[in-house]
C-alpha cells in the first residue's frame, strides 16, 4: 500500500504547470462597504488570494481559466466569469442560508453545498458570551442529535457529549476531539472519584468554529476512533488587514437552578418522634445530641442546610486578542482569563490561557503555520458525591443541628461528619497545565496538488494536592495529604497529499491520501503521607510518615493510513469514498489492524433544469452515506490476562487483576445515513432531514462473571446494539424587513437504542444490581423491584412480585420476593433545541431553548432522604405524608426508625426527568459606530447573558440534568448531585 501511494504522488508531481494571467478587482457588500479578507479562487484550483483592507485583490490565474469564485463567511458565494476585462467590481449579497458555509471535515475542508455527509457546524457566535467556563456546554441544544450535559453543578464536573446516542456500552462513548488537526487527550485524571472535564483547559474564547462529524461518511476518515462522532475545533486566526484588537470583559453571578425542600425542625421532630414511637424507641437523647443541647422543642435551631451548602457564585471573564496580517503573514494572538466561583461552597476555578496562530507564505508554493495554545487551570474541588464530607451531603443533616457554633467553629456533633470541618481544615486543589501545538507545512506542487505535513503535540499535566488537617472528620493521624502528578502527552504526525482538479469542464476530483502516526504516553506518580507537625504545614515534605506511593507508565500507539476521494459532476452530482486503516497497540496481537471504509453519494436536485429558478423549492439536495467506524476507547491493555502488584506487611505480592481475552478488538459501527437538505421560499426557510441507523457489533462488555469464579468481570467483544434515529433541522429567516431581523433555528432528534444480541444466548447482563442490558431493551435500562405503595392496613411498604406465575401482580412486603422489572431508560430518546435571534438597530436578542424527553433517573440517595425516617437523615417534605393509622391511603410507608420499611432499591426512587430549559439568553447592543469612531473604536458592544434562567420540569429532584458522579454516569443515577448553575452576566466587547 505504501508503495502505491508514493507512486501515485510521484505521478502528480511530474505533471507540468500552466501559463498564467493576472486579474484584479474589489469586493464589496451590498452596501458598498469593502469586504476585508474575502477569498478569491481560480475555480478548479486551490490557488487563491484574499482581499485587503480596501477590499482589493490581485490574483494570478491559469491561462484559459474560465471563472473565479469569491467567498466570504456569511455571504452568498459568487462565481464570476473571466472576460477580457482585467478589473472586476464584485458585489456579494449576504447569505440568508447556511448552505455555502465552509465546513471542516478532517484533513481538509469543503463547502456545505458539496457535502455528502452529515456535519453540524457551530460558529463563534454560538459559543461566545455563554457564561460557562467549558466550551462543550456552549453548544448544548444547538446541534441536532448531539446531547451535551454536564455531570452536575460543580465547576469542574465532567461532560457527557453523545453524538446520536451512545454506540457503546462499556467502551468510551465520548466523541474524538480534534483541535486544529491534533486529536486531543481527553482522559480524566481526577483522583477524587468524581470526573473532571479534561478539556476545561481550553478557553471557549479561542474557538472560531466547531464542526461535528456525525455520520459514518464524515467520521470514517478517523477510522478506529470515529464511532462516537468527531468534534473538530478550529481556533481563531487572523485575516489580512490592519491589526484588529478586541477586548471582551464580562462578570456575573450564579445560583443553583433549583433546590429541594427539606423538613424544618418542627416537622423533623414530629416525624422522628413518631418513627421512634413506632419501634418503642425514645428519640429525646438523639435530638439533644443533634441539636447540641439547644431547645429543639421550640425550634431554637432550624437550619436550612441548602443555604449552608450553596452560595451565590461569581464569574469573571476577560479576553484580549489582536489579529491581522498581510498577504505574506496572518497572525492571531490572544489571551483569556476566567475566574469562576461555583455555586457549591468551596468549589471554584480560574484559568489563564493564551494562543498564537501564525501562518506565513514563504513562497507561492510553500506555506508554514504554527498554532500554539497553552493554559493553566487551577481548581478547588470538593469531594465526590459519595463522600460524607462533600458539601451536598450536608443536606442530609438534621435541621436541629447548627452548622457552626457561636465561636464560628463547625459543629462536630452532626449526624454525619460536618462537611464544614473538611472545608475549613482541608483542601483539594487540582492544577491542569495544557500545551497544544501544531507546526505544519503545506507545499503546493501545482495549483491542484499540494502536500501537507502536520506535526501536532498535546501535553496535559494534572497535579492534585489534597490536605486534610488534624481537625477534619475521621482524622486520627494528625492530618493526611495526597499529592499526584499525571503527565499525558501525545504527538501526532500526519502527512497527506491533496489533489483537487477539474479534470474536464464540470468534472472535479478531490483526492486526499495520507498517513498518521500517533504515540501517546502517560506517566503517573503519587504519594500519600500522614502525621503532620502542624495544620499549617500541608505539603508531603512535612509528613512524618509516608504511607503510599505510586509510579506508573502506560502508552498506546496508532499507525494509520487513509485516503478519500470525492468526485463532483456539474456541481450537482457527488460521489465520495474514503478508507482508513488503523493499527493500534491496544488490540490483541492477532487483531492489530482494522480497515474502515465509507462511501456516500449526493445530488443537488434543485440544480436540474426542472427546478432551476424555482423560488419555492430553491434548494434541494439528497444524500446517502454508509460506512464502518471503530471504537478503540477500551483502555490500553484490555485484552490481556494480567497479574498486578499488591503488598502484605510491606512485602511484595502478586494478584490476578484482569482475566484476559486475546481475541479482543475494537467495536465496529456500521452507519447508514439518508439525508435531505432543502431551501424553501428563496431559501428563507432551509433545513435538513436525516434518518440514520447505527449498528454496533463486537460490542465491548465488561461482562460480569459469577463471583464464585474468583473474578468479577471480563472484557468481551460480543453482542450488538442498534441506534436508529431521525434528525430535523429547520432554519428560518422569519422576518427581515426595515432593519428588523428575526432568525430561528430549530432542531429535534429522536434516537432509539436497542440491544440486538448479547453473549451466552442473549443472557441478561445485570450491572450493579439495578441496571440491565437485555435484548430488545435500551442500554443500561433501569432494573428495579416495582414499588406498589403502602398496605393501608399496617403501613408496610409493598412491592409487586412480578413473577411468571399467576401471582405476578400480587404484592409482598419482602423486597427479596419482588422480581425486578425493566423500568425506563437512563437517557433521553428525544432531544430538541430552538435558537432565536432577533436584531433591530444594533440590538440583538439571542436565546436557546433546549429540551430532553425520555430519561428516567434513579435517586440512589432516596434510600436515605425519602425513607420515611429510617435514619436520622433529614427527609424530603413528601415524607410527611406517611401512613399513620389503619386505613390511611398514601405512598409513604409508616415511619419506623432504624427499620427498612420501603427503603430497598425500587421504582419508588425512580422518576421521569423530562425538561425544557432556557439554556442561554444574550441581549446585546452595538453602540452606534460613528460615536465610537470618534474615540478610536470600531465597534463597541454591551451585552447581558444568562444561562439556565428557566427550567420547566416535573422532576422533583435537584436537577434533571445532574448525575451521580461517583458511579458510571450512563446508569442514570443521582446521589446528592448538585444542580446546574443559573448564571446572569454582563459584558463589554470592544474592537479597536
Amino acid at each position: 500500500m505504501t508503495r502505491i501511494i508514493t507512486t501515485v504522488l510521484l505521478l502528480f508531481v511530474g505533471l507540468s504547470i500552466y501559463a498564467q494571467q493576472v486579474i484584479t478587482g474589489t469586493v464589496v457588500d451590498d452596501e458598498g462597504i469593502p469586504l476585508i479578507g474575502a477569498t478569491i479562487t481560480d475555480v478548479g484550483t486551490t490557488s487563491g488570494t484574499v482581499t485587503d483592507l480596501d477590499g482589493s485583490f490581485s490574483l494570478t490565474v491559469r491561462e484559459g481559466a474560465e471563472a473565479i469564485e469569491v467567498t466570504y463567511t456569511g455571504f452568498e458565494p459568487q462565481r464570476v466569469a473571466i472576460t477580457n476585462a482585467t478589473t472586476y467590481e464584485i458585489v456579494l449579497s449576504s447569505s440568508s442560508e447556511l448552505l455555502d458555509e465552509v465546513v471542516v471535515i478532517g484533513y481538509g475542508s469543503t463547502s456545505k453545498r458539496f457535502l455528502t455527509d452529515n456535519v453540524t457546524k457551530l460558529s463563534s457566535d454560538d459559543i461566545d458570551k455563554v457564561p460557562v467556563p467549558n466550551f462543550q456546554s456552549t453548544f448544548a441544544g444547538k446541534a441536532a442529535g448531539v446531547r451535551v450535559s454536564q455531570t452536575n453543578g460543580k465547576v469542574d464536573a465532567g461532560m457527557t457529549v453523545r453524538v446520536r446516542g451512545a454506540a457503546s456500552i462499556s467502551a468510551g462513548s465520548d466523541p474524538l476531539y480534534v483541535l486544529d488537526g491534533v486529536p486531543l487527550i481527553n482522559q480524566d485524571e481526577s483522583q477524587n472519584g468524581a470526573p473532571l472535564n479534561p478539556l476545561l483547559s481550553l478557553s471557549p474564547t479561542e474557538i472560531e468554529s466547531i464542526d461535528i462529524l456525525k455520520d459514518a461518511s464524515s467520521a470514517a476518515i478517523y477510522g478506529a476512533r470515529g464511532a462516537n462522532g468527531v468534534v473538530l475545533i478550529t481556533t481563531k486566526r487572523g485575516k489580512i488587514g490592519k491589526a484588529v484588537m478586541r477586548l471582551n470583559i464580562s462578570g456575573g453571578v450564579s445560583e443553583p437552578t433549583n433546590t429541594v425542600e427539606w423538613l424544618n425542625t418542627e416537622e423533623y421532630v414530629a416525624l422522628f418522634t413518631e418513627a421512634g414511637n413506632n419501634i418503642d424507641y425514645d428519640v429525646t437523647a438523639d435530638f439533644d445530641r443533634l441539636s447540641n443541647g439547644t431547645d429543639w422543642r421550640n425550634s431554637e435551631v432550624d437550619t436550612e442546610w441548602n443555604d449552608v451548602v450553596f452560595r451565590t457564585g461569581q464569574q469573571n471573564n476577560a479576553d484580549f486578542n489582536i489579529s491581522g496580517g498581510d498577504e505574506k503573514t496572518i497572525y492571531y494572538l490572544g489571551g483569556a482569563y476566567n475566574d469562576t466561583e461555583g455555586i457549591i461552597i468551596g468549589n471554584d476555578l480560574n484559568r489563564a490561557s493564551a494562543r498564537t496562530n501564525i501562518r506565513h507564505n514563504f513562497s507561492k508554493k510553500f506555506t508554514g503555520a504554527l498554532n500554539l495554545g497553552y493554559s493553566k487551570t487551577t481548581i478547588n474541588r470538593v469531594q465526590d458525591d459519595n463522600s460524607f464530607t462533600t458539601p451536598l451531603q450536608g443536606i442530609a443533616q438534621s435541621p436541629l443541628s447548627p452548622p457552626r457554633l457561636e465561636n464560628g467553629e463547625p459543629f462536630g456533633g452532626t449526624e454525619y461528619a460536618n462537611f464544614l470541618l473538611a472545608l475549613d481544615y482541608g483542601s483539594y486543589e487540582t492544577r491542569i497545565r495544557r500545551l497544544t501545538g501544531k507546526a505544519s507545512g503545506e507545499y503546493k506542487f501545482t495549483n491542484w496538488l499540494s502536500f501537507n505535513s502536520d506535526f501536532g503535540y498535546d501535553m496535559s499535566n494534572t497535579t492534585e494536592d489534597e490536605f486534610n488537617g488534624s481537625r477534619t472528620p475521621f482524622q486520627s493521624t494528625n492530618g493526611d495529604a495526597f499529592s499526584s502528578t499525571a503527565l499525558q502527552e501525545s504527538y501526532v504526525w500526519a502527512n497527506y497529499a491533496t489533489f483537487d482538479r477539474d479534470l474536464a469542464a464540470g468534472h472535479n476530483l478531490n483526492v486526499v491520501v495520507g498517513t498518521e502516526f500517533t504515540e501517546a504516553q502517560r506517566n503517573y506518580n503519587s504519594v500519600s503521607g500522614i502525621q503532620f507537625p502542624s495544620d499549617d504545614l500541608q505539603t508531603i515534605s512535612s509528613a512524618a510518615e509516608i504511607t503510599a506511593g505510586a509510579g506508573s507508565f502506560t502508552a498506546y500507539n496508532f499507525m494509520s493510513y487513509f485516503a478519500r476521494a470525492q468526485y463532483v459532476l456539474n456541481s450537482r452530482y457527488f460521489v465520495k469514498g474514503s478508507i482508513r486503516s488503523d493499527g493500534s497497540s491496544r488490540f490483541g496481537a492477532d487483531r492489530r489492524f482494522g480497515t474502515f471504509p465509507a462511501g456516500s453519494v449526493g445530488w443537488i436536485v434543485s440544480e436540474e433544469d426542472f427546478l432551476k429558478g424555482n423560488t419555492t423549492l430553491a434548494f434541494l439536495k439528497t444524500r446517502v452515506s454508509y460506512g464502518l467506524l471503530g471504537n478503540s476507547e477500551i483502555g490500553n491493555f484490555p485484552s490481556r490476562n494480567l497479574f498486578g502488584t499488591t503488598s502484605y506487611n510491606q512485602r511484595p505480592g502478586i494478584e490476578p487483576v484482569q482475566p484476559g481475552n486475546s481475541s479482543l478488538t475494537w467495536e465496529t459501527t456500521k452507519q447508514l445515513d439518508v439525508g435531505l437538505e432543502f431551501g424553501l421560499f428563496d431559501s428563507r426557510i432551509s433545513g435538513e432531514l436525516d434518518y440514520y441507523r447505527k449498528l454496533t457489533d463486537g460490542l465491548l462488555f465488561e461482562t460480569p462473571l459469577p463471583g464464585s469464579s474468583g473474578a468479577t468481570f471480563i472484557n468481551q467483544n460480543i453482542g450488538s446494539l442498534k441506534n436508529t434515529g431521525v434528525e430535523l433541522i429547520l432554519n428560518g429567516d422569519v422576518v427581515n424587513t426595515g432593519g428588523f431581523r428575526w432568525n430561528a433555528s430549530f432542531n429535534i432528534a429522536q434516537n432509539n437504542v436497542e440491544i440486538i444480541s448479547l453473549p451466552n444466548d442473549d443472557m441478561d447482563i445485570v450491572v450493579e444490581g439495578n441496571n440491565i442490558n437485555r435484548v430488545g431493551e435500551p442500554v443500561l435500562a433501569h432494573y428495579l423491584p416495582e414499588y406498589a405503595g403502602v398496605d393501608p392496613a399496617n403501613g408496610d411498604a409493598l412491592y409487586f412480585i412480578n413473577g411468571d406465575g399467576e401471582d405476578a401482580r400480587e404484592t409482598t412486603n419482602n423486597p427479596n420476593e419482588a422480581n425486578r422489572i425493566v423500568a425506563g431508560q437512563p437517557f433521553p430518546d428525544v432531544t430538541a433545541g430552538l435558537t432565536n435571534t432577533v436584531a433591530y438597530k444594533g440590538i440583538t436578542l439571542n436565546f436557546t431553548l433546549q429540551g430532553e424527553w425520555g430519561t428516567s433517573l434513579y435517586n440512589a440517595a432516596g434510600r436515605f432522604q425519602s425513607a420515611n425516617a429510617r435514619f436520622f437523615d433529614n427527609q424530603t417534605v413528601d415524607q410527611l405524608n406517611r401512613w399513620q393509622n389503619p386505613g390511611d391511603i398514601t405512598d409513604v410507608p409508616q415511619a419506623r426508625l432504624f427499620t427498612n420499611n420501603g427503603a430497598a432499591a425500587s421504582t419508588r426512587y425512580l422518576e421521569k426527568a423530562d425538561f425544557i430549559r432556557l439554556r442561554n439568553v444574550t441581549l446585546s447592543y452595538d453602540l452606534p459606530r460613528d460615536w465610537m469612531e470618534r474615540i478610536g473604536l470600531t465597534n463597541t458592544q454591551v451585552y447581558f447573558s444568562g444561562l439556565n434562567l428557566l427550567t420547566f420540569t416535573e422532576y422533583s429532584g435537584y436537577d434533571p440534568e445532574s448525575r451521580y458522579d461517583a458511579v458510571e454516569l450512563g446508569r442514570g443515577q443521582v446521589f446528592y448531585s448538585a444542580p446546574a448553575a443559573r448564571t446572569v452576566s454582563f459584558g463589554l466587547n470592544l474592537t479597536f
Binding site: 475521621f474 482524622q475 502484605y648 463471583g707
Partner: protein
C-alpha cells in the same frame, strides 16, 4: 530553489510513509502476564503473599467478615447505629439479596480460594527445596481452607453448601456456571486441606501461617462441625506445642503492630498496606473510626454478672465522642494487626470438647477456663462450680466478643438470636444477586425469594 524544494519534499514523502508499525507492540509496565506470574518459583511465592493480601482486604478478614458475623449474631450485645444500610440490614436480620457487604465478602472469599488454587496448580515450579515447596503448598491450603470454611459458615443452609472449586481459573471464557456442593463436601475439603497443611507447614513461619495456625484453625473447624475429639486433639496440640503464650494483660492481645505472644494467626496491617474495617465501624473518630457505628450494650455487661470490676474484659471499652457511646477497646490502633486466631480460643475449645466428651485431656475444663479468666483478672472458678455448655458459651462471649464469633456460637449451641431461632433462615446469608444473575441455576437459600 525550486528544484531543491522538490527534493526536500520528496524526501519528506518517503519519510512520511515509512512504516511505524513495529511501534504497535507495547507491553504493560505495571502488570505481568500469567505465564510470568505463575511460571517461576519467585513469582509463585509472591503470588502467595498476594493471597494473604487478598484475605486481608476489608471485604473479608480486614474486618467485614468478623463484623457481619457479630452483627448477625448481635443478640442484644451490640447495636448497629451507623447509617450504612447494608450492615444495618444484617443487624436487623432483614438482608436483601443485593446487600453489598455480603456480595463483596462472597466475591473476595472466592478470589482468595482461586489464588490459592492457582498456587496449588503450579507448585511444580517451586524447585529450590522440598521444604520450600511444602511450605508454599501448606500456606495455600491453609488460605483455601480459611476461605471456604467461612463461606460455608455464612452461606450454607442445611445440606446446601457453597460452590466448590479446587482448580484455579485462568481461562474465563469457559462456562463458569457451577452448582452448590453439599455442606459436608465443603467441610471435608476444609478439613483435609488443614490436615495436609499441618503436615506440610514449618513450626514457625514469621507472620505467615505456620503449622499451629493450621492446627488452630482445624480445631475451630472441628468444633464447629461437631467433631469434638478431633477438635480436642488439635486444640491440645496447639496449646502444648505451639510455644504461644497468653499475653500478660488482656489488652496486650489487641492493637498490636507486631503479632503478640498469643497470636496463632493475625492479619497484618501497617500504615502502608492492609485494611482494617473493624476500626472504621467500631472505633471512635479519634482512633480512625466513624464515631462508633457499633456500640456495646448494657446487656453485654450483664454477661459478667457481679464481676464487672475485676474482669478486664468488662472494662475494655473506649468512650466514644458522641453520647458517651460504649465502644470496644479491641480496635483502637488504626494500623494494628487484626487477631484472627488467638491462643485463648484454643483453651476454650479444649474446655468445651473435654466437657462434651467428659474427658480431661491436657487439662480439665475448669482449669482451661480459669487459665483464660485468670489472665483477664476475673474471679476464678471453684472446684465445686458447675460448668455446663451455657457457661462455656458465655465465657466465649466474654473472651471472644467482637472478633466474629457471635452468630456461630449461638447457632452452634442452639441459642435463639434476637428472637430468631438458631435454625432460622434469616441467620444465613442469601446467595448474592450478582451470583444468581450470572451463575444461572444456582439455588438461592430458603427465605430469600
Amino acid at each position: 530553489m525550486n528544484q531543491l524544494n522538490k527534493i526536500l519534499f520528496l524526501g519528506l514523502f518517503s519519510l512520511a510513509f515509512t512504516n511505524c508499525e513495529d511501534k504497535l507492540e507495547i507491553t504493560p509496565a505495571q502488570e505481568l502476564e500469567p505465564g510470568t506470574a505463575l511460571g517461576t518459583e519467585a513469582n509463585i511465592k509472591t503470588t502467595l503473599v498476594g493471597t494473604y493480601a487478598e484475605a486481608g482486604k476489608n471485604d473479608s478478614y480486614g474486618g467485614r467478615y468478623q463484623m457481619m458475623a457479630d452483627l448477625l449474631g448481635a443478640n442484644g450485645n451490640i447495636t448497629w447505629g451507623g447509617t450504612f444500610f447494608d450492615p444495618g440490614d444484617i443487624f436487623n436480620k432483614a438482608i436483601l439479596v443485593t446487600n453489598a457487604f455480603v456480595e463483596d465478602f462472597w466475591n473476595n472469599q472466592y478470589a482468595i480460594a482461586n489464588q490459592a488454587n492457582l498456587i496449588l496448580d503450579n507448585l511444580d515450579v517451586v524447585e529450590s527445596s522440598t521444604e520450600e515447596r511444602d511450605r508454599v503448598e501448606g500456606e495455600a491450603r491453609f488460605l483455601r481452607a480459611l476461605a471456604y470454611f467461612d463461606l460455608n459458615r455464612m452461606f450454607s443452609s442445611g445440606d446446601l453448601g457453597v460452590p466448590l472449586r479446587t482448580e484455579g481459573l485462568v481461562e474465563y471464557s469457559a462456562d463458569l456456571t457451577i452448582d452448590r456442593a453439599s455442606t459436608g463436601e465443603v467441610y471435608a475439603l476444609v478439613v483435609s486441606d488443614l490436615q495436609r497443611a499441618v503436615e506440610l507447614l514449618p513450626e514457625s513461619n514469621g507472620v505467615f501461617a505456620d503449622r499451629y495456625s493450621a492446627q488452630a484453625l482445624l480445631a475451630r473447624v472441628q468444633l464447629h462441625i461437631g467433631n469434638f475429639e478431633a477438635a480436642l486433639t488439635a486444640a491440645d496440640n496447639v496449646i502444648m506445642n505451639s510455644g504461644r503464650t497468653l499475653t500478660p494483660d488482656y489488652a496486650d492481645a489487641f492493637n498490636n503492630d507486631v503479632n503478640s505472644s498469643e497470636d496463632l494467626f493475625a492479619i497484618q496491617v501497617t500504615s502502608q498496606d492492609g485494611e482494617n474495617d473493624l476500626i472504621v465501624h467500631y472505633a471512635s473518630e479519634a482512633n480512625g473510626g466513624r464515631r462508633g457505628d457499633i456500640r456495646v450494650n448494657d446487656a453485654y455487661l450483664d454477661l459478667f454478672g457481679s464481676d464487672t470490676i475485676a474482669d478486664a474484659r468488662a472494662n475494655f471499652f473506649v468512650e466514644g465522642e458522641v453520647e458517651d457511646r460504649r465502644l470496644t477497646g479491641k480496635y483502637t490502633n488504626q494500623f494494628g494487626n487484626i487477631a484472627l486466631i488467638r491462643l485463648a480460643e484454643m483453651y476454650l475449645i479444649r474446655a468445651e470438647a473435654n466437657l462434651r466428651l467428659s474427658s480431661e485431656v491436657g487439662a480439665s475444663p475448669r482449669e482451661d477456663i480459669n487459665t483464660v479468666r485468670n489472665r483477664a483478672g476475673a474471679e476464678l472458678l471453684e472446684e465445686d462450680d458447675d460448668i455446663d455448655l451455657t457457661y462455656i458459651l458465655n465465657e466465649r462471649l466474654r473472651e471472644l466478643a467482637f472478633e466474629g464469633f457471635f452468630v456461630h456460637d449461638y447457632r452452634r449451641l442452639g441459642v435463639a438470636i434476637d428472637g430468631f431461632d438458631a435454625d432460622d433462615n434469616a441467620l444465613v446469608f442469601p446467595i448474592p444477586q450478582s451470583e444468581t444473575d450470572t451463575n444461572m441455576g444456582i439455588l438461592q437459600n430458603p427465605g430469600y425469594g
